[in-house]
Symmetry: C2
Subunit: 207 residues, 2 copies
């Protein structure tokens, strides 16, 4: 893929493709390293320096793609969130039989995952950072809308019925709360009991 | 209250009371300033320096009472949480008629308040800070237990019945999720619709 320092007889078009591919791969490596650092080390420890090191990319190259830490952290959370929906749909396609409990399990898995922890770090940092707030708010709203639409789809819920929209929202706020509760310790046993009960209640309400 | 630089003929006992009172008032001022800074400026900006300044106390005096930032932030969140239960009980005593919706409102008010935001900053910081984690985990567990017991009491719920314990937990995880959703913007309209629906569902299930 790499064409370096050699007088290879290639056309302009042939060279451009590997270059674009190299750029794409480097951006993705930087965004994955950023999300990983947010989830494991937190917002304060996620710096352009620590990301460049984790990704094995020079700080100059990083700053060429992402001029500031804020650009990097927002792009990183948008990046990891965008691949989430495809994952959830693929898992949901493998569900056979009753859907509610397995869908709740999938949602809870997501809201307790490193992807959610990276987003949590960004949301909380943006709360007290004027420069980040507007952009993170837009991202949160977009992610929230997508998650809501996806949950309606996965649960086969009929939002034209009264109260269904609010029950879907409540379900997502519930799993968000469960995600926060899992931030400090393994909360899986408690979470499973809550989801068992909520699946029963939600099934009755949606039926 | 203050006895300073004067040869006042007071007994040892009389002098000791104002001294203890001065200490108590200073500690409280430091803890309130810390919780306030956590909620408004975030964990990183809450330093022994900024707290001393906000409280109008010398940094030396602060460090005499709280040797490190970690001591200070843990004590501050424990302090603001401990006064919360009395507030909630007093409010609940004024409820007449149907309890579920007004109790949910009170809980949501708490989980979107500066007290919750201060706790959120501490929980998230502790996630990636080894030195803080064990202590904050203990505090979170204690606060969680108290909040659960209080919610059972306020809702007049009967936990001996199957599923009730889990529905109370789900309710608290829901309002925690709503608290997180309110961190970046005013989410009150959406929240009210969700709580209206949750109150209907919960009343049916608890009846």
């Amino acid at each position: 893929m790499y064409v370096m320092g050699q007088a290879v007889p290639v056309t302009q078009a042939v060279v451009r493709v590997p270059q674009e591919e190299r750029t794409r791969v480097m951006r993705q490596r930087l965004l994955d390293a950023t999300a990983d650092l947010l989830a494991t080390e937190g917002f304060a420890a996620t710096t352009t320096m620590s990301v460049a090191e984790r990704a094995g990319v020079s700080r100059g190259a990083l700053l060429h793609h992402f001029p500031s830490k804020n650009d990097l952290v927002v792009a990183a959370v948008a990046h990891v969130m965008s691949s989430r929906d495809d994952d959830l749909r693929a898992k949901a396609d493998r569900i056979t039989g009753a859907r509610t409990r397995p869908v709740l399990e999938m949602l809870a898995d997501h809201f307790t995952s490193p992807v959610f922890m990276a987003a949590l770090e960004l949301w909380v940092a943006a709360r007290t950072d004027e420069a980040l707030r507007a952009e993170v708010f837009r991202l949160e709203r977009e992610v929230g809308r997508q998650t809501h639409a996806l949950t309606v789809e996965l649960l086969h819920a009929d939002e034209s019925r009264s109260g269904v929209r609010e029950l879907i929202q409540a379900t997502l706020d519930l799993v968000r709360g469960l995600g926060l509760a899992s931030a400090l310790s393994d909360d899986a046993a408690r979470r499973n009991h809550i989801l068992d009960q909520w699946a029963l209640t939600l099934e009755k309400e949606l039926a």
